[in-house]
Amino acid sequence: MKKLLNDPANAVADSLAGFALAHADIIQVHHDPAYVTRVGGATTGKVGLVSGGGAGHEPLHTGFVGDGMLDVAVPGAVFTSPTPDQILPALQAADGGAGVLAIVKNYTGDVLNFDLAVELAETEGLDVATVLVNDDVAVEDSTYTAGRRGVAGTLCVEKIAGAAAQQGGDLADVTGVAHRVVDNVRSMGVAVTACTVPHVGAPSFDLPGDQLEIGIGIHGEPGRRRVKAVPADEVTQMLLDPVADDLELSAGERVLLFVNGMGGTPASELYVVYGRARRLLEQRGVTVARSLVGSYVTSLEMQGASVTVLRLDDELAALWDAPVHTAALRW
């Protein structure tokens, strides 16, 4: 394993230290326990937004702390959810007196650790709501699984709920908007190569040279099936169709199309996927009204991409358009 890292055991801490120095105008890093807050801390009277999860998905979540998005992000070890004693002070740091919304990706580890922390926070009088993000349509039947995973759609929830909070919504409003995003966003991903967790030192799964892994999550876990490598147009259709079908998109609807890189994918390839996904949506009579293309919800250096579609209405579109000023997303 070759990586631009020092001691793998310090990978997250070293990276956070550099992140803190590079973006001192936007964020502050708290060490021991580790969490990232906006410069200046919680805004009085504003609903606080907290998200977190294993590290290795950067810029998610730390890169999304700032005006118009998250107040606090809590990174765990690589691909390992943070612990309650990190999450509890993070929830407290986000509270400006109007309550806190915790945005949690639906993984057993994340759910259990956030649940514990939220219980503790409530004991201490904090008003906390939780929204579970579960946009990954690769996990088909939740009767036989831990339920759909939260993947790239998380960015949409954080951006839009963040805008709602910034605009002064109360906890119920912001939580309602977040739930509405969750209800209308779906994703599916493909891996071209696996990734290597620093402390493991070996690729997270073995992917023969001519195979693609369809339906991967964002933790280097294997996907639902393997296919022989096919052109990007075909791969994109394998991702877009299940997403659009699950959303039951019909002609005339407007969507946000988000093509996300898994960390090691050249931007040029993401645009190839974007172009095809967009044509497929247009063939369904669906209008792509907003777009995002880039590596935002990643799995270390994994090569691959995911396609996320969010059904838009006027309110969600306006909240998406609202200003945001974070290390990784800014307009």
């Binding site: 070890a77 690589v78 691909f79 390992t80 057993t108 493991v200």
Partner: protein
């Protein structure tokens, strides 16, 4: 051969040694059907528990008069430390297991009945948190036969050692028995049918944990 706080402490220290030694094996199991961090998670957690035990033992020396040490105290320290250092699914699960176990072992030493109650409470804590039932290819598939075997051994008049040995053996068998299962809880469930053919990492670590409890019996404190 009393199951006292010293035994509990030896148990936890042995577990720390075992997971450190078997780290790569646990990692590899988790890499096959999960995300490859189970070994690292437990090493980090138990290392932290050992650090706390070391610190406490140092303090204890200074305050010998503080009175008898309880089994449950060791388990509670283990619980809260795992909870705050492991993360992932296994952190809250093992954390809750030890927390519940601590609640029924607040004594200077525990007898066979208390051993069974301890294991039952641990399992209960895991299922309350994780909502898994047997057969879903999780650590529950190691804990459940362990509890049954311990109860059986106790009802047959076995001593503490016999009860723990029965539990550990059953946990190991239960872990092996997860191999053909298709996971329906935890990260491995995302693999669907492809999860079959691999041992569940949490079941394996459960077997290691209970094996360490047996080994701690034989050992004498330093």
């Amino acid at each position: 051969m009393t199951l006292d706080a010293d035994w509990a402490e030896r148990w936890i220290r042995r577990t720390a040694d075992t997971v450190a030694g078997r780290r790569d094996e646990l990692t590899e199991l988790d890499r096959q059907i999960g995300d490859g961090d189970h070994g690292e998670n437990l090493v980090r957690g138990f290392r932290a528990v050992v650090a706390k035990l070391d610190a406490r033992d140092g303090q204890d020396g200074a305050t010998e008069a503080a009175g008898p040490r309880l089994v449950g105290d060791v388990l509670k320290l283990t619980a809260t430390t795992l909870m705050s250092t492991v993360g992932g699914a296994s952190g809250p699960l093992y954390g809750t297991a030890f927390l519940r176990a601590a609640k029924v072992t607040g004594r200077e030493s525990i007898d066979t009945r208390a051993v069974v109650a301890m294991l039952e409470s641990a399992l209960e804590g895991i299922t309350v948190r994780g909502k898994a039932t047997p057969g879903e290819k999780t650590m529950v598939d190691a804990w459940t036969p362990a509890v049954d075997a311990a109860a059986q051994a106790a009802s047959e008049g076995g001593d503490e050692a016999a009860v723990l040995r029965a539990a550990a053996a059953a946990a190991a068998a239960g872990a092996t028995a997860t191999i053909p299962l298709v996971a329906t809880k935890g990260r491995a469930s995302y693999l669907g049918e492809r999860s079959a053919g691999h041992e569940d990492p949490g079941a394996r670590s459960t077997a290691l944990l209970l094996g360490a409890a047996v080994e701690a019996l034989a050992e004498r404190s330093a």
